[in-house]
Structures are given as structure tokens and as C-alpha cells.
């Protein structure tokens, strides 16, 4: 029998003594500008899944709000996934205007310059008037891209300071082989909120608020009697990234008629499929890097990837959250609910729509509170916010945030440093 209290990781267990953080980090335009340069132009940023561009010719366009970047991600005829800035070499137009599609070429709608799916410039109308343009050197501007576990990451530095595996710092090895690819279907919810992006990062990095803020939505399902403040268990650090184990109540048995009916059609992403668990086919539950403690009422392993990702693998899929700054006081939250397949029946569509509404409402609670927090910060009565011993991941994020702003944070690369000497 696991003694839960022993595994409630406290800040002091991780040597994290930064028990308060300046409010200025959350309200100042100067800090936002430093975040753009020192975090979002340096760290590897997750922007999608390889399933989003499954076939040669498939492309998606994603924006990266803190950098105002519009990015084309495309799978070439050679099967390779590449990323480019969405800007024509001629006069700069963001030439791909669809969110997604399949194409062999991209044609600029302004003057019809044509690019191949691999980004190379294929044709210039009235080419004789552009004798100074070397087509071979005027393809779409590439962005560094790598993938891990099917997730697509970009790096906007001219030369990344670390490779993606170096950046992931062991989180990738712990989760090696985790079955994200078993859950290819997603529903996305996005919203823009008047608050600093780190308010939401912090909300997903502690369970202390769950019994209070989520009293009506989550408490009964996830807050166990032996862990009333939903302390994260067994926190593991990987550079600036982390993972922590979160329990839930397996005896949660909603009696409300609509919810009960939904559960009988198709279990929500978050609900444990007890039969599947018992038969060893419950997706992430079987992975050795997840629930190392083997707690019997395992809910999720909450995985944080610096700077702005939270992933929660569950029995029937996973939840993905990403928090993008737009300015110091405004941000965008993207939530994706991943499941095994698209609805096959109207019953499943109804169940998924219900899960979508329920998941959205929980995030709306977090976003609403983050907005109130921003109002409080900007009111100016407090110079600091405080992080408890039971909020170690907030202290850890702040530690690594400060390291990045100071020019560090990334794994060292002794080879390059030595070569420069």
C-alpha cells in the first residue's frame, strides 16, 4: 500500500526556495518583450501532431502568437515534414490562406509566384523581369523542425542552442513509446483571455485549487479523501520540464441522468475504463514512465513542457493545453481533447459533444480565475504573489523562466562552446 503523504512532493524536497515572485513578471511590457526574445525565440515550441499532415502534400498553417509568426507545416513528396514562414519571397504576402489542405504547390494570390510543397521556388511569372532573383536561393524561409512522439516542434533561432532531444532533457526518454498515436482524433477549443499567459501555466501546475475553483465540475471525480488539496505526487524534473502523478476517485459514479447516459455510450476522455485497465489495454496506464508509484486510483500524469504546454494522458485519450502570450495582458489558450476515433454514431457524437462542453467549462473556470487574477495584479496593491510548499512546480517554472530571461536555461553544449574558444 502506497503511503500517499510520503509522495506529496514539497518545494523543499526539490530545493526550491523562491517562495514569492514579483507581480511585475505578469504585468510588464518590458518582461513580455524579454519573453519573446529570450524564451519564444530560443525554446523548442510545440505546434502540432504529425497526424495533422499525415499524407504527402498535406499542409497546415499555424500561428505562433508571441512571435507573430504564421507558419506553414507541410509533408513533402519525400515524406519529410518541413516548416516555413508563410511569406512570399517576392513582396512578402502570407500566401497560404487555408488552415489546412493537400497540395503539390503553393501559389501566391498576389502575383502568382509558385512554390513546391518542399518550399522551393518553382516559377516566377515574367521571370525575365527578375534577373537578380536566384530561384534556388529564394524558396520559402525555413524554420527548424523536429518531432518527438509524433509532436511537431519548431525552433525560431537562427541556430538552435540545443537539439530537441537535448531540450527535452530526459522527459522524452521517460515517455518513450507512450501511445499518443493511438488517439489521433481531436477536438480543439480556443479562447483569448485578458490575462498573462503564465497565470494559466501556473493554474495547470498545481492541484491546490481544484477542490475550490472546480468544486462543482471536478472535485467529486478527482479529489480523493486522502489527498484533499490534490497535491501532485512523485514530481519528476527534466530540465525545465516536469511530470507529476495525479489521483482520481474510481468510485465516482455520477447519478445525474444526462451524464449517466453519456457515460454509458462512450466514456469521457478523463474517465477510467476499469475493464480496459484490468485487461491491460488502457493506453497510457500501461506505460512504465507513467504512474511510477502504481497508485491504484491513478488519474493522470500531468506533463509540463516548458514554456507553455501541459499534457494529461488519461485512460481514454489525452488532454493537451497550450498557453500563448499575445501581450503581457492578453493570451490565447488552445485545448485539444484527443480520442481514439471520430464519432461513428450519433450516440458517440452526443457523448463527445457532452465531454467537449464539460471539458470546456472546466477550462473556462481556470480562464475566468486567471482574468480575475490579472485584474488584481494590475490594481497594483501587491508587489508579489506567493507560492506555497505545495506549489513546487510554480517555483520550478519561475526558476527556469528567470534562467531563460538571463540567457541560460537551455542545456549546455560543451562541443560548441569548446569549438568557439
Amino acid at each position: 500500500m502506497v503511503n500517499i503523504e510520503e509522495h506529496m512532493t514539497k518545494a523543499r524536497d526539490l530545493g526550491l526556495e523562491n517562495d514569492r515572485v514579483p507581480v511585475e513578471y505578469y504585468t510588464s511590457a518590458a518582461y513580455f518583450r524579454r519573453e519573446q526574445d529570450m524564451i519564444f525565440r530560443r525554446a523548442w515550441l510545440m505546434v502540432g501532431r504529425v497526424e495533422d499532415v499525415a499524407e504527402p502534400g498535406d499542409f497546415i498553417v499555424r500561428d505562433v502568437p508571441p512571435l507573430k509568426a504564421s507558419v506553414i507545416i507541410a509533408r513533402g513528396k519525400d515524406g519529410k515534414v518541413r516548416a516555413f514562414h508563410n511569406t512570399c519571397s517576392h513582396r512578402g504576402v502570407a500566401l497560404v490562406c487555408q488552415d489546412r489542405g493537400n497540395a503539390l504547390t503553393f501559389r501566391c494570390p498576389y502575383h502568382a509566384w509558385i512554390y513546391r510543397i518542399d518550399g522551393s521556388l518553382s516559377a516566377i511569372p515574367a521571370e525575365q523581369d527578375f534577373p537578380h532573383v536566384d530561384k534556388a536561393a529564394n524558396g520559402l524561409a525555413p524554420i527548424h523542425l523536429d518531432t518527438w512522439a509524433g509532436f511537431i516542434f519548431l525552433n525560431f533561432a537562427d541556430e538552435p542552442e540545443a537539439t530537441l532531444p537535448e531540450f527535452l532533457a530526459g522527459l522524452d526518454t521517460m515517455l518513450d513509446g507512450a501511445p499518443f498515436d493511438q488517439f489521433p482524433f481531436s477536438i480543439q477549443v480556443s479562447d483569448e483571455i485578458d490575462c498573462n499567459w503564465k497565470n494559466l501555466v501556473n493554474a495547470f501546475n498545481e492541484g491546490y485549487h481544484v477542490a475550490v475553483l472546480h468544486n462543482k465540475t471536478l472535485r467529486a471525480a478527482v479529489v480523493p479523501k486522502d489527498n484533499p488539496h490534490l497535491h501532485y505526487l512523485d514530481i519528476k524534473q527534466f530540465g525545465p520540464h516536469s511530470a507529476g502523478t495525479v489521483p482520481r476517485n474510481f468510485d465516482y459514479d455520477p447519478q445525474a441522468p444526462a451524464l449517466t447516459w453519456v457515460y454509458a455510450q462512450m466514456l469521457p476522455t478523463s474517465a477510467p475504463d476499469v475493464a480496459a485497465i484490468n485487461e491491460g489495454r488502457a493506453g497510457f496506464y500501461e506505460h512504465p514512465g507513467i504512474n511510477r508509484l502504481k497508485i491504484p486510483n491513478f488519474g493522470t500524469e500531468t506533463i509540463t513542457i516548458f514554456p507553455n504546454i501541459s499534457i494529461q494522458p488519461l485512460a481514454n485519450g489525452y488532454l493537451f493545453y497550450q498557453f500563448w502570450p499575445m501581450s503581457e495582458g492578453r493570451m490565447r489558450t488552445d485545448v485539444r481533447i484527443y480520442s481514439r476515433h471520430a464519432p461513428r454514431t450519433l450516440r458517440e457524437e452526443f457523448a463527445m459533444a457532452s465531454t467537449l462542453a464539460a471539458t470546456r467549462d472546466v477550462v473556462v473556470e481556470d480562464m475566468a480565475m486567471s482574468r480575475l487574477q490579472q485584474i488584481g495584479f494590475e490594481s497594483g496593491g501587491k508587489k508579489y504573489q506567493q507560492f506555497g510548499q505545495n506549489e513546487p512546480l510554480l517555483r520550478m517554472f519561475t526558476r527556469d523562466y528567470e534562467a531563460y530571461l538571463a540567457g541560460g536555461g537551455m542545456p549546455r553544449q560543451p562541443d560548441k562552446a569548446e569549438a568557439a574558444e
Binding site: D52, F185, S186, I187, Q188, V189, S190, D191, K216, T217, P254, A256, P257, A258, L259, W261, A342, P343, R344, T345, L346, R347, E349, F350, A353, S354, L356, A357, A358, R360, D361, V364, E365, M367, A368, M369, R371, L372
Partner: protein, 121 residues
């Protein structure tokens, strides 16, 4: 075309006439965000009346809908399904919050929703 004096005749299948009072409110909404907005705008009493009429009879509704191709629903069944989908929002107000809106959220509040690779009803 119905004249101004002729009330539009609902197409909902006859055995689901008990949902008739809710067709006007829920039957013409086409997206989850429209249903979310409707739920926020209604009184709790209206949401409770809808929930009371439908929540215990979902199985009947879907036993009927099971007979049809989900991608080619006849108009009456499509209307019935859209009314039923209203309960995905109304149930949040009735079974979870005890009020139409998420506490502390802005009003009206909307989010952008995308089902990747599936066209929901």
C-alpha cells in the same frame, strides 16, 4: 412558404412531440458554440424544463436515431438530433452548475471550436 399567420409546422418525428416546446429554442442551432451561447442566455427555469423533458428519455431518442445513417439523416431526424444536442449544454447548467453560466466567466462568452476531420451536426 408559410404565411405570417400560419405557424411553421415542426418536422420533429411525431413520437417525440414532447420536445415540441423546445424546437424553437434548440432545433435551429448548428454549432456547439451557438448552443453554449443559448444556454448562457436562457433562464435556469427554462433549462430545467428542457432537461426534465429529455434527460430521462435520451435512450428513446437514440433508439429511434439508430435506424438512420448518421451522415444522411432525414430532415425530421436531423432536427430531433439538433434538439437533443442542446442538452449537452443544458445539462451542464442543470446537473453541474445549478445556474446557466460558468461562475466568474465573462458574459456573453464564446470559444472557437474545431472538430478535426469530422463535421458535427
Amino acid at each position: 412558404m408559410n404565411g405570417p399567420d400560419a405557424p411553421e409546422k415542426s418536422l420533429i418525428p411525431q413520437q417525440f412531440a414532447f420536445l415540441e416546446p423546445f424546437v424553437e429554442t434548440w432545433g435551429h442551432l448548428r454549432t456547439q458554440d451557438e448552443r453554449y451561447a443559448k444556454r448562457q442566455a436562457l433562464d435556469q427555469e427554462e433549462l430545467e424544463a428542457f432537461h426534465a423533458a429529455l434527460a430521462h428519455r435520451l435512450e428513446e431518442v437514440f433508439t429511434h436515431l439508430d435506424q438512420f445513417d448518421p451522415q444522411a439523416l432525414p430532415e425530421a431526424e436531423a432536427l430531433l438530433f439538433r434538439v437533443a444536442l442542446g442538452l449537452t449544454e443544458a445539462a451542464q447548467a442543470v446537473e453541474i452548475f445549478g445556474q446557466p453560466r460558468v461562475p466568474h466567466a465573462p458574459f456573453p462568452h464564446g470559444v472557437a471550436i474545431a472538430w478535426n476531420g469530422y463535421q458535427p451536426h
